[in-house]
Subunit: 106 residues, 2 copies
DNA sequence: GTATCATATTAGTAAATTCTAATATGTAAG
DNA sequence: CTTACATATTAGAATTTACTAATATGATAC
């Protein structure tokens, strides 16, 4: 397994570091959706969601496909879906011990 | 699979959202290490590393064990190790497409 | 108990990320 | 080519997260 450098890895992992991005990933994990569908579903605003989508695209986690004036986003591939599933599996196992780490260091 | 709520999930995922934390996880993935060993290996400072360790502990990703005046940390269990490995697998696959997402939104 | 060493915690500052609002781009329809 | 709608981009303000330095805690050895 060819190891990718740590900075590239961090860019990749940033995709999972914000609630909105994770919610987007979950939302399009099984079926592609347009930006406006995602905006509506997450009750976000267009600009903000669009920025998070750009981030996820940059992380390689999602891909978009233009169709007329709509852009449909979907999770990149099965491996990424598997990773998302694995989060749930590991988290369920670990769940009971999470307490501090309030999304920051203290 | 019993789904954990999104806020708990986010606390968990914060464990992977900082370079130092990911480096710590990689460092103790296969063998436990004391705080001072980690500090030395990452060339960090004691306070900072200690805070990141507290975060990872809070995320449920690592566990510590006191032995005399030393505390030995290790990755929580095999599932967490598997998840770390999976990052590398998926990242290698996705690698070529990472470009933007400079650890932020633009 | 006192000294020493390892680790943890705290408070305040510094830095990075995210959000909001405004504007730009691009596509389709008329 | 103008309008309308979907999405993207930008700039700056607001918020969150991380770092530094100082101090505290806890364990061992004396």
């Amino acid at each position: 397994m060819l190891k990718v450098d740590i900075d590239t890895k961090m860019k990749f992992l940033q995709g999972f570091s914000h609630k909105t991005r994770v919610q987007i990933l979950e939302s399009i994990k099984e079926e592609e959706k347009t930006v406006s569908q995602i905006v509506e579903e997450l009750e976000g605003n267009q600009s903000n969601i669009s920025q998070h989508l750009a981030c996820l695209r940059g992380c390689g986690l999602i891909v978009g496909r233009q169709e007329g004036k709509y852009v449909h986003y979907r999770v990149r591939n099965q491996l990424v879906r598997d990773l998302l599933t694995m989060f749930d599996v590991v988290l369920e196992d670990v769940h009971k011990d999470i307490a501090c780490c309030d999304s920051h260091i203290d």
